[in-house]
Symmetry: none
Subunit: 519 residues, 2 copies
């Protein structure tokens, strides 16, 4: 395991995906998820070139405690005609605090001339100087050879010379990038073989970075490993520009489960499904149900004819045990799925569920999920549901009589909330800069009269997802709300025909869960 | 070309996908689309086993005029302990009117015993009798060897014996099925090589049928072709059970464009994008933007740094000419955009921007993007901005006087909208199941009095994104709205301190852009 690099670039190359926008807070959450999966390297962005990425590395230093992974700061070789030591972008890489600097270097002669607009010689000097300078400053350096496969075809000698230059200057890894994504597995294998035999000596590690334009990013990555690469780059859920990058989770699952190469710390591949879905909640990109290994349909069987045979031996109908990636078999007509994972989750929250209870909760979760709820991220809503089943009644501290919210084109919104709490009736009007904000203010002010501790709670995250988007604003809406106090945070979920109804449910659950924590 | 089978199973194996339901009419539409793409075989379903499929074949005889493709009727070998001629399911295949019968046969010893519950000998007899009977009745017969790869591993001799039996009885094709989808390309190649050398003589054609459970269905199909298979099965858009089948369009595009093997009639690969999207309209499964070759993002570039080089040579940044599959390059306007990419984008929309104008628009885009706008997806909002700069004023057909929206806990929402359009004042109240829905209804009803064409517009997609989520509901909100008419669709963006304000802006721009299109 120690001799293999699982290198994630979700936060950098993955974020290039059309429509994907990550805040610094999002990036920190994703980095923690990636660390929990046990990847070796997390490429966080390009400090110095992008203020958001600069802030990410700066906050990561104090806020990110990583157990398995090291951060990598991505950047380019020095500008043409300048000393590496004088280039402020290189200084930003050197000072980012990341354990590794990954430099992108041009290795395709035509790109050097047309995109970089410099000479082939100067490009080599840029690689040499930048790597040397960073090594002298005590940095570990990886080099991404951009457009390597196309460059190799156009001018093999020059492409290899770029790698050789990087290696001689002290780069630890040269990652061969299929930047345009046009390769097929056999071609990748041939090139990696050749590279490994020409430059892959003296401890230089050859890596691979694939895009999915031919639909072969996963297979291309595996072909490279088979040909000698020991460093694989990819993104969770295959996020990335155009058709995306290699789906790192599928690559790793194939390496571990199909090819018998352990590349993650023992047991952590079982976090794959949870991690992929949690990251999809942060990116707000709906997870693909057909995604290999971790998709919700990946082990779903239309039972029909096969049901009895599946009972005899499920391995007859699936290529592996879904437990290995933290996923579950589902029979689409029957209701067999998930009980084991509900028991596990219950245990995680401190409840030993007997078989009957676990079955009942599983059935409720399945029904709610089919109506648009999700409990993977909404741990607090799941715990309230669990408590309802275990204790016979859902925790409740107040009753809602009614609410109403008015917004107009001046940006004024007010919400009137009527509740009964601790035997008393409260009618409160809250103002806000939007309907959910006003409802939150009104609800908090009303409940706060009976339960002052709610003043410590803060609504710290709010996410909306619309389903069945082909129906436009008529669709069903899911809202996830994160509420925090000084001790931590919890997430609740609400679903409704409109964003206000859904938000109200999540707000009420958020306060209810918080009140229970304090009692 | 004539020596290669492109065999589509969208209507049979693709329809196994979770949540996918096709009516007979849907199937007829899809079959015409597939024929227009030029596939050689269209597997229509299992007549006799499934009334819908029986009806499909019966209607196909009179309603389906195919230019390129032949229909294939799928079914199983005869039941154990019965003559093929006496099995009503075999009679249904014989009488379906399809040009080919494709029989699924068990080739994995354990499946014969556990799922079929018969002896290995009887299974061979079932294959032999059924193929012989159908050949005697004048049918062309293909055989799908189910679970072949797992069966080959478990009992190579028996798996090969099944193929040999089929061939000797007169089957024209034996398609090796990776039914559980667990294979990797190298393994597929080895098995196909072996099969081809053992049974692939005397005109027997070896085929391949892959599922995507390892994320390698496309690469596995290509590996099989490289090893000698000349018949490839797959589905459009990779539909299918679990993780889906091999995406037939990507397989074919790779064969034609990457490997130089023409497998469709000349020129028809250019129908690929249109066909894939038209079929997605019928299945009602939203097309995956990142789908290889045909996805809407497959040739989308965040221009930025690369724009000037793209101007020089687009092939530097894409692996092929998107025209080859009927797709198009798109430049995304993003906050990394420079002047060059704005100029390119302007040209795409039919405007030659001079340097000054381009600089001014670039500055406005950057400022708006720093305030939360995005123009990557919102082409229509970008075009309105462009028009505003080019023509000196933003297109405008009505003035908003005010709006107000009220929601309450009973789920009732009403919006009152006051506008002036075409010199007249309109005050209209719309109802909806949420504030945005109500505003949309009110706005459309008000404007519709002056501009009846807005009744053709439909709000077809609605996306919400909250930024700076650490501020909870206080955060800034971005809304993307897709509006459609019979000719196409366009996306607008709105940003505001709350979801209602942001939605209002996007709604107004959506109608404005639509009105301009109609003038």
């Amino acid at each position: 395991m120690s001799d293999f690099h699982v290198y994630d670039t979700t936060l950098r190359d993955g974020a290039q995906q059309e429509g994907l926008n990550l805040s610094v807070a999002d990036k920190l959450v994703i980095a923690r998820q990636l660390d929990g999966l046990g990847v070796g390297y997390i490429e966080g962005g390009w400090p110095g070139a992008n203020p958001k990425d600069t802030e990410f590395f700066s906050r990561a230093r104090s806020e990110l405690k990583l157990e398995h992974a090291q951060l990598a700061a991505f950047g380019a070789t020095r500008r043409a005609g300048m000393r590496a030591a004088d280039d402020p972008l290189i200084a930003a890489l050197r000072d980012s605090g990341a354990g590794v600097v990954t430099l992108v270097a041009k290795s395709h002669d035509r790109h050097v001339e047309l995109a970089l607009r410099t000479t082939l010689e100067e490009n080599l000097a840029m690689v040499r100087d930048t790597v040397t300078h960073l090594r002298e400053e005590g940095q570990r350096v990886f080099v991404d050879a951009e457009h390597f496969f196309d460059g190799y075809r156009a001018n093999r000698a020059y492409a290899l010379e770029v790698l050789r230059t990087a290696a001689e200057a002290g780069a630890e890894v040269v990652a061969l990038c299929d930047t345009n994504g046009g390769m097929l597995p056999g071609w990748v294998a041939d090139v990696v073989h050749d590279v490994a035999s020409v430059v892959g000596s003296g401890g230089l590690r050859v890596g691979i970075h694939c895009h999915n334009d031919t639909g072969c990013a996963i297979a291309n990555s595996l072909a490279a490993v088979d040909a000698g690469a020991t460093h694989v780059q990819g993104t969770v859920n295959g996020y990335g520009e155009r058709t995306g990058n290699a789906d790192l989770v599928a690559v790793v699952a194939n390496l571990e489960l199909k090819l018998g190469r352990q590349v993650l710390p023992t047991g952590l591949l079982r976090e794959a499904t949870r991690t992929a879905h949690a990251i999809a909640e942060v990116t707000n990109v709906p997870p693909a149900s057909r995604q290999p290994y971790v998709g919700s349909s990946a082990f779903a069987h239309k039972a029909g004819l096969h049901a009895s045979a599946i009972k005899v031996d499920p391995h007859l109908y699936q290529h592996m045990d879904p437990f290995g990636v933290g996923n579950d078999m589902r029979l689409l007509v029957s209701d067999m799925a998930g009980r084991a994972s509900i028991e596990l989750k219950g245990r995680e929250l401190g409840f030993e569920l007997d078989a009957d209870l676990a079955r009942r909760i599983t059935a409720r979760v399945k029904e709610l999920e089919s109506n648009g709820y999700t409990f993977e991220a909404a741990d607090a809503s799941f715990e309230l549901l669990l408590l309802e089943e275990v204790e016979g009644a859902r925790p409740s501290y107040f009753e809602v009589e009614s609410w109403r919210v008015i917004s107009d084109h001046d940006g004024l919104t007010e919400a009137t909330v009527k509740i009964v709490g601790d035997g008393e009736r409260f009618v409160v009007t809250g103002e806000g800069n939007g309907p959910v904000n006003a409802l939150d203010a009104g609800l908090r002010a009303a409940i706060g009269q009976a339960f002052p501790e709610v003043q410590q709670f803060e609504l710290t995250d709010y996410k909306v997802r619309i389903f069945d988007e082909s129906h436009g604003t008529d669709a069903k809406t899911r809202v996830l709300i994160e509420t925090s106090d000084s001790d931590g945070s919890w997430v609740t979920v609400g679903v409704g025909e409109n964003v206000i109804e859904a938000s109200w449910e999540a707000l009420v659950d958020g306060l209810t869960f918080g009140l229970r924590r304090h009692r």
